[in-house]
């Protein structure tokens, strides 16, 4: 058997770094994601199917006067669907699975900090979502006649805000989710609200005014406004400000909720 002796203590041993710890966690999560066929299937195919469905369902006449084309509405909506599917829905089940398998509890005994555990677990899902977004943008400009992103910095800001917001909302949703199976239920409210109210399926521009103003305050609407404007142009300064502020406010709220209420142990 191997020797148990040798250097006891860490005076000289190399300390781990944040980057090293996140890499280790992230790599393990990549293996886990790759071995979860259902999650990969849903993450990859659902957005494509939804974009195609939207494209055939939306009529140009509906969008008249909004400045949006059918392809523009469908593909930017597709980015929103990617964020919800790959980041939010995937992560709720990841967080719940790790909690129920006592993995979170075990990780908390080590050097990795609480935020690092949540971020490390999220890394592969976030990477998958960003990669799919790149595919959507490339496909949009190459095959669907859309222009290259008008304001890339806005698109990027919207994506980053979306990733952080939806990861935080996923962690918050895991609190009320007992099992991986029930995560299919607990993720539905945000999914539907965002589909209908945040401009993923129905652009806010076609809604009557009072309804649109309410919908502007929904969690994902701000992110969608930034993403859509970043790619297609359009919205002006004050709209963007409202979008950024609501997005940041929801993110702050979600992070606060996670700090206060996140469960690291299974319920007993």
């Amino acid at each position: 058997m191997a020797s148990t002796t040798g250097t006891t203590g860490t005076g000289t041993a190399a300390r781990t770094t944040v980057r090293g710890r996140l890499t280790a966690l992230g790599r393990a999560e990549v293996f886990l994601l790759a071995r979860n066929r259902t999650a990969v299937f849903v993450s990859l195919l659902m957005p494509a199917a939804m974009v195609l469905a939207m494209k055939s369902a939306l009529k140009q006449s509906v969008l008249d006067g909004t400045g949006l084309s059918v392809a523009g509405a469908a593909l930017t909506g597709g980015i929103g669907i990617v964020l919800i599917q790959a980041v939010y829905m995937n992560l709720v089940s990841s967080y719940v699975a790790r909690r129920e398998d006592l993995v979170l509890k075990r990780l908390r005994t080590g050097e990795v900090t609480d935020p690092e555990i949540l971020v490390g677990t999220a890394l592969p899902s976030v990477a998958l979502a960003l990669a799919q977004t790149v595919v959507i943008v490339v496909a949009g400009t190459a095959f669907f006649g859309l222009a290259a992103p008008q304001r890339p910095e806005l698109l990027l800001a919207g994506l980053l805000l979306g990733v952080v917001l939806l990861a935080a909302l996923a962690a918050a949703t895991s609190v009320v989710t007992r099992t991986v199976q029930t995560s299919q239920l607990t993720t539905l409210p945000l999914f539907f609200i965002s589909m209908m109210g945040s401009g993923l399926f129905v652009p806010l521009e076609v809604m009557p005014d009072p309804m649109a103003s309410v919908c502007e305050l929904l969690p994902v609407t701000g992110v969608m406004t930034l993403v859509r404007t970043g790619w297609l142009g359009g919205a002006g300064g004050s709209d963007l400000l409202v979008a950024a502020v609501t997005g940041l406010a929801w993110t702050g709220f979600a992070v606060f909720a996670v700090q206060r209420r996140f469960r690291w142990d299974p319920r007993r």
Binding site: G9, A13, T23, L25, R35, L102
Partner: protein, 333 residues
Amino acid sequence: MTSDDIPGNRPDRTVTPVTAASASASRSDAVIEATGVRRRYAGGFEAVAGVSFSVARGELFALLGTNGAGKTSTVELLEGLAVPDGGTVRVLGHDPFRERAAVRPRIGVMLQEGGFPSELTVTETVRMWAGCTSGARPTGEALELVGLSHRGRVRVKQLSGGERRRLDLAMALLGRPEMLFLDEPTTGLDAEGRRDTWELVRELRDGGTTVLLTTHYLEEAETLADRLAIMHRGRIVTAGTTAEVTAARPSRIRFELPEGVPAARLPLGLRAAADGQRIEIRTHRLQESLDELLTWARESDVRLLGLDARSASLEEAFLDIAQSASESEKVAA
């Protein structure tokens, strides 16, 4: 590990003299110091009700207790997983919760119930943990330590309960910790696995690692621990070396009287408890009591069936404490 490695009676396994053991736990030298520690759960239940003890560098300290005695609740406070509701804990000179960044790289933890992703292989799991551990051993070495080298490519979900326990131990040992927390490390292991783990823990101790072990196997504490404490309902009821803990406890004589010989005929000097023909005598003077009993038996021509006499063991002490503590609570209530 093979059974050949298991030594018989090593000279260094003899019980340390009482004074030396106590002196070695002096404050300056203590790796763990718990003072008046309390922990209350949401429902108001006080799982840890004022616990104080210290563990000296290089010492193997065992925390014993019935289920629900508060062992794990106590250990979790020392591991820095929760903040005590009262009292203070210091590990390696630091507050394990607030100064976790200073403490964690120097300790290794094996939870009573901890998990690893079931879809990862054993090797992948060790690599993940190594990436989060300062000065980690090579993966192969860690698996060899616990005898899992041949299981590296197996998914965690396919491991047996005992193998999972050993994987958990490998993680706890990965960073060559100065201080090792083992919460029921051999639960679910077969006899051989248990012996292998004991041998490994002993080697670590001999190499200078300080160990805090909880267990409900009394034999485990008796074999491994330099000092131990017995917890009951959130409190430490008794503490010391095995010899110290058992010294105050009565020895026990058991036998069965033949039909027709009533227990009342036993000599009055013996404090006997009778259950039909079955007799149990508790005594602090085993030799004298035995002498009295055997003399009486010879003179009365009575055959004592299944005669069994034993000095106080940790088990005796443990049962005695658990029982008397419950009784005194009944009286108080």
